[in-house]
């Protein structure tokens, strides 16, 4: 069960790079929030958030250098969250379809 997580040492420069990206992302989100792009505001802000989260997971949390199993756990959890969101939303979005029937 050789595994890299404990041997691979991420260079500090990578950490600084990621840190800079996260800070920029935060600034960008704030700026986007103040301008009016219609529905795109939310889409962009959430995309930035997802990107930031991915960076943290991959580098700060070393998932890029970890066994596949770790990635599977994360993807599994997010997928299960999506199950909950999608199937519940399916109810909320179609509640008044009955009126057309």
């Amino acid at each position: 069960m050789a595994d890299h997580s404990q041997h691979h040492i991420v260079p500090k420069s990578t950490y600084y790079l990621i840190f800079t990206a996260l800070m920029l992302g935060t600034g960008l989100t704030w700026w986007i929030a103040t301008i009016d792009l219609g529905a795109m505001n939310n889409v962009i802000m959430l995309s930035i958030a997802v990107t930031k989260a991915t960076l943290v997971i991959l580098f700060f949390m070393h998932v890029k250098y970890s066994p596949k199993l770790t990635g599977t756990v994360i993807i599994g959890a997010v997928f299960w969250l999506l199950i909950m969101l999608v199937m519940t939303m399916n109810d909320y979005f179609t509640r008044d379809w009955l009126h057309f029937g």
């Binding site: 997580s5 950490y15 704030w30 505001n41 949390m61 770790t70 756990v73 969250l81």
Partner: protein, 231 residues
Amino acid sequence: MSNAASVAHDEQQHHPRLAHHFESLEQQTDSSLFGMWIFLATEILFFGGALMAYMIYRRWYPDAFALASSHIAILPGAINTAVLIISSLTMALAVHAAQTGERGKILFFIVVTMILGAAFLGIKGYEYYEKYAEGFIPGLGLEFRFPEPEYAKNAQIFFSIYFVLTGLHALHMIVGLGLMTWMFIWVKDGVIDTQYYAPIEIVGLYWHFVDIVWIFLFPLLYLIGRHVHHG
């Protein structure tokens, strides 16, 4: 049944922290990191439930939510975001120091991370106080005073979610501070070394997770709908 396998392992350096039921420190480290990730998976679903409530009511009451969100000052939230990201960096550096065995640096970065965490909680506390002063507490028998009374009811839902989410997040931070105190002691006592630093890594994972939660909470609670009502 051969016992060659177990004999082979016994020859390996027997680390004092190797628990009796593991064959090797590597298996032990692997297991504990894997366990931590599963725990974080449960956390995703835990916060996910509240997030779902947020999504549904935001769709039902877009105006009330946009208005309510615009009553929250961005600045403290933004500062807190920065504070948390910096603390994530210092946490990562603490793990790095643990990997390279620089004990002084581990201690330093743990302390810095803890100070940043405390700063976050301080700012959060100040924000809570502001909400209290403005009358945005949706319960506790306090009067909920929303400037636009016709939206008051649904704004109350927004603030309910706001307090649940930020409250749970803050609770996680407090737990994190406790864990880091523990790690501080372990590093000081020499429990942690370059062979055995999984505990620090695990606390690091936890701390980064808490950071990720905030990465989502900040736009969702403070910013969304902001462009409609310039608060």
